[in-house]
């Protein structure tokens, strides 16, 4: 069984449903539907195991080798194709799984500018620079809330101090794991 190196089906901006029938027609038009279903289920199952464990190359090799040795397993050609696919897409797939498990608000986007704010109520016109920050907050796949915040220089310093604390904690964490 060769890998499907053919042109992928023309998917109109993700609006076409990737059905089993579509895949079969594009990849293995001569295969019987039940035969294709079994193949798809087997490959899908293997990829799910690999993705769920976020396997590194060593784990992947051991896993795929075991699969080639068992009854009703895969051929070494199939193993090679799966390995190639995982190496190329591991990071993106893992990132997608990470995002799927985040159900709280995330910072989708952030813009800022610096203004000179004049205090006209005072006798002395004091021009203080302020940062205006717009943050787009929301859950993945849901509508966003736009938060507009004002920071003076002192508040930016305060923020930087806290962010430095976070960074130090992150560094400490990644060093111990």
């Amino acid at each position: 069984m060769a890998a499907a190196e053919q042109q992928p089906p023309a998917v109109d901006g993700g609006k076409v449903d990737i059905t089993e029938e579509l895949l079969r027609g594009q990849l293995y038009p001569e295969a019987a539907p039940e035969e294709f279903r079994a193949l798809r289920a087997k490959m899908g199952g293997l990829l799910q195991s690999i993705a769920s464990a976020d396997m590194d190359l060593n784990q992947l090799e051991a896993f795929l080798t075991a699969q080639t040795k068992k009854q009703g397993g895969i051929t070494s050609d199939q193993a090679a194709v799966i390995a190639k696919f995982w190496k190329n897409h591991r990071v993106k797939i893992h990132e997608s799984l990470v995002n799927q498990s985040c159900w709280d608000n995330v910072l989708k986007n952030m813009n800022w500018r610096v203004d000179l704010k004049s205090q006209s109520r005072h006798v002395d016109q004091i021009n203080t620079p302020v940062a205006i920050v717009e943050m787009e907050l929301g859950k993945y796949g849901q509508e966003s809330e736009f938060l507009c915040l004002e920071f003076d220089e002192a508040k930016v310093s305060q923020m930087l101090k806290k962010l430095t604390e976070i960074e130090e904690s992150m560094t400490a964490l990644t060093q111990t794991t």
């Binding site: 990470v98 799927q100 498990s101 995330v106 910072l107 610096v114 205006i132 507009c148 976070i166």
Partner: protein, 103 residues
């Protein structure tokens, strides 16, 4: 929008001596509804595992921004950031500080 700012907005709109409502709205600066940053609280965690992925193992920081609106009311805005998202967030504030210094 807090009740206080609706009153302010109405007065501001009336004071603008230009065309219709649409024209007036376009003249309102983006930061009219800006809230004041008060404080930030944070928590660092590691997502280990989920129903779709047994080996997630990604650190993330949850922050709660304490903000005050024009009437002085305090609210908490919470959100999560992964490590790369946090790094970008941090970098933006460093840039902001640099610009504020030069202005």
């Amino acid at each position: 929008m807090a009740a206080g700012s609706v009153v302010l907005l109405t007065r501001a709109l009336e004071a603008l001596d230009v065309g219709g409502a649409a024209d007036k709205i376009n003249l309102i600066p983006q930061d009219f509804f800006a809230e004041l940053f008060v404080d930030i609280k944070w928590k660092l965690g590691v997502a280990m595992s989920s129903d779709t992925c047994r080996s997630l193992k990604y650190p993330y920081v949850t922050v709660a921004l304490k903000v005050a609106d024009s009437s002085g009311q305090i609210t908490n805005k919470c959100f999560e950031m992964t490590v790369p998202q946090f790094k970008n967030f941090f970098r933006q504030f460093k840039e902001m500080a640099a610009v504020l210094e030069t202005v």
